[in-house]
């Protein structure tokens, strides 16, 4: 019996989710991890705090210059309320479905059923923050104020509120209580540029040719790792990988590692692709193809 390596995309704890569009194509969404989401939240709170301080000073200056205290207080009270409750709701109801913090970290809120993100859903997921964040905080505040007068009760209360706070860690879709109730989840939105065509880049020049034995060394997984190495262009990695391939294939060193790897990539890619066309998909180097 052979042990298969448990690689990222296929492991149980993966955050990739099947998401089939009405056109029948699986987009394979990737959920935002708990860490990223916590960071986005902290980022939002920092931005919120800074804008609150700025607004307070601005209103304060206006208040000093103009009518006086009353308008200032009203503006401040309403403004603080709107910021606290409206910040997340208004941003998430916009076209990007993300607050500034989420946008910076490449996250967005999405309806789990793939439909429109409705106002009701956005409001529900954000109203629930009251029990997720502010409930534990207020218990901590009470404890600090009363000097832990009733230790047992406080611990119990913290445990109870902790359930809501750490809810995302207890389910595999990383849903907050608010997400659960609103039918939403938070996904990664990367913006990738289309990289250059590594094979076409070598097409115009004279290429190295490789024997079948040299090309049989690797499968798709290794090919794509090699692609990463070439695209990242790190000198050290290129030297190491080139040396490894040469050693395994028994090829002499011709001095130009990058060109060697590019040619090897092109040749391997062409070979694996040809195999794939006739239904022989070689996932990685551990798969031995039956007949050549």
């Amino acid at each position: 019996m052979r042990w298969r390596r448990n690689r990222g995309p296929r492991s149980v704890a993966s955050l990739r989710r099947t998401f089939v569009t009405p056109e029948g194509v699986d987009l394979r969404l990737e959920l935002g991890s708990a860490g990223t989401r916590a960071s986005a939240y902290i980022l939002d709170m920092v931005i919120l705090l800074i804008s609150m301080i700025l607004a307070t000073t601005a209103i304060g200056l206006l208040g000093v210059a103009g009518a006086g205290g009353e308008a200032f207080m009203i503006l401040w009270l309403i403004g603080a309320f709107v910021l606290r409750n409206g910040w997340f709701i208004l941003f998430e109801m916009g076209g990007r479905g993300a607050t500034p913090g989420k946008r910076l970290l490449g996250l967005r809120v999405v309806a789990r059923d793939g439909g429109r993100l409705t106002g009701g859903a956005v409001i529900a997921r954000n109203a629930m923050r009251e029990i997720e964040i502010f409930l534990p905080l207020s218990f901590l505040g009470v404890q600090a104020a009363e000097g832990a007068a009733d230790g047992f009760l406080t611990i119990f209360a913290l445990l109870w509120t902790g359930i809501f706070l750490f809810f995302p860690l207890f389910n595999r879709d990383r849903l907050r209580v608010g997400d659960l109730l609103a039918g939403t989840w938070v996904v990664n939105t990367i913006r990738a540029k289309l990289g250059t065509d590594l094979v076409a880049a070598r097409a115009e020049q004279p290429r190295r040719v490789f024997s079948d034995a040299a090309l049989d060394l690797y499968g798709i997984y290794e090919l794509q790792t090699l692609e990463n190495v070439l695209r990242n262009g790190q000198e050290e990695a290129i030297v190491t990988v080139a040396a490894t391939i040469r050693r395994k294939a028994g090829l002499p060193d011709d001095g130009d590692d990058y060109a060697f790897l590019s040619d090897y990539y092109a040749a391997l890619c062409a070979r694996l692709e040809r195999g794939m066309m006739v239904g022989r998909r070689r996932e990685d180097k551990h798969v031995v193809m039956g007949r050549r």
Binding site: I74, N85, R112, T118
Partner: protein, 344 residues
């Protein structure tokens, strides 16, 4: 062994041909989607909008083809993110804020409140039970008053106070002439935050929400009893009614909304538990926006109207008219048509 070969023949792999054939389309879709993300779909000229669905579908089919035939990971990742972004721009974007707000006022708000009628009734009865209990407790033993109502909230209104002091709290302009609007703003924000909190607490199987409702009733009952003993019961009720009819209604609705999600989580019925929670959560949160708006009205009535309107009859008139208005807005039958855009 690595001899060189000089070939300037057709591209070596499929991916290159595939790219050459479709790259322009992908680029165009990318540009359109980026523009939509930055502003909105209205930023696009007509022919771009017409091209959008075609470009989107061809990108999707490119993705399927690339996954099956190409080993170029960067190509597949690029197409995946392009299709995902385009999908959410085409299917996932909510309406404009203005249109949503219009529909919210016309249909979604009253409909959401109407859907809560059973919970509203229960939370009204709970509040009523609280009022009766509070009244009964304080009338049998006035010392209960101190344990029900915290000192800060009582503000001198306790069993030891004389009838004149109590009368002054009802009819006096306590804040002088300034500060009324500030007081209104404070009341609105504070009450709304508490209401949102009560709603969110409903998730814990409604128990905390029920407690909050009963407690709210208790303090009302205790106060009522206190004033009634001094012969000021009707006057106090008038002072309370002017804003209280709106405010208490809003609090009862907030409790009902919390109850709705709590019961949906606890007793999902024939649905899957998460499904039931989602349905309840979305419609109840629409009602919650309504609650916040109601509290805004209540804050205005309380902060400004209560001190400037001093006649009992006017106070009752305004309060009851507001109540009748809310009831008519929510419960008068209306046509059911179309879909709930906000609560769907």
């Amino acid at each position: 062994m690595s001899a060189f070969v000089d070939t300037v023949a057709a591209p070596l792999v499929n991916a290159s041909r595939f790219r050459a054939a479709h790259e322009a389309e992908w680029e165009r879709l990318d540009q359109l989607v980026t523009r939509m993300e930055k502003r909105s779909v209205r930023a696009l000229p007509d022919d771009d909008i017409l091209a959008l669905p075609l470009l989107y579908r061809s990108a999707l089919s490119s993705l399927s083809v690339a996954r099956e035939t190409s080993l170029d990971r960067s190509l597949v990742i690029y197409l995946e993110q392009l299709c995902t972004r385009a999908y959410f721009q085409l299917y996932g974007v909510p309406d404009t804020a203005l249109r949503q707000f219009g529909r919210f006022l016309a249909r979604d708000w009253p409909m959401a409140v109407q859907a809560l009628w059973r919970e509203t009734l229960v939370s009204f009865l709970l509040t009523l039970a609280g009022v009766l209990a509070g009244w009964w407790l304080v009338s049998t033993d006035p010392s209960w008053y101190y344990s029900i109502i915290p000192d800060a909230m009582a503000g001198g209104r306790d069993p030891a106070a004389s009838a004149e002091t109590l009368r002054a709290t009802i009819y006096g302009a306590e804040n002088g002439d300034g500060g009324l609007a500030t007081f209104a703003a404070y009341l609105f924000t504070h009450n709304s935050q508490v209401a949102i909190f009560a709603f969110a607490l409903g998730f814990a199987f409604t128990v905390p929400t029920v407690l909050l409702l009963v407690y709210n009733g208790l303090s009302l009952g205790a106060m009522l009893c206190l004033f009634a003993k001094k012969g000021l019961g009707l006057n106090f009720l008038g002072w309370l009614t002017i804003h209280g009819s709106t405010e208490m209604f809003a609090i009862i609705l907030a409790g009902a909304a919390g109850m709705k999600i709590g019961t949906a989580v606890a007793f999902p019925g024939r649905d899957e538990r998460t499904e039931a929670a989602v349905r309840a959560g979305r419609s109840a949160s629409v009602a919650m926006v309504g609650v916040v708006l109601m509290l805004m009205v209540a804050g205005l009535l309380e902060g400004i109207g209560r001190q400037t309107v001093q006649a009992d009859a006017m106070r009752y008139g305004i309060g009851l008219a507001a109540l009748a208005g809310w009831l008519a807005y929510y419960y008068l039958p209306r046509r059911r048509e179309g879909d709930h855009a906000l609560a769907a």
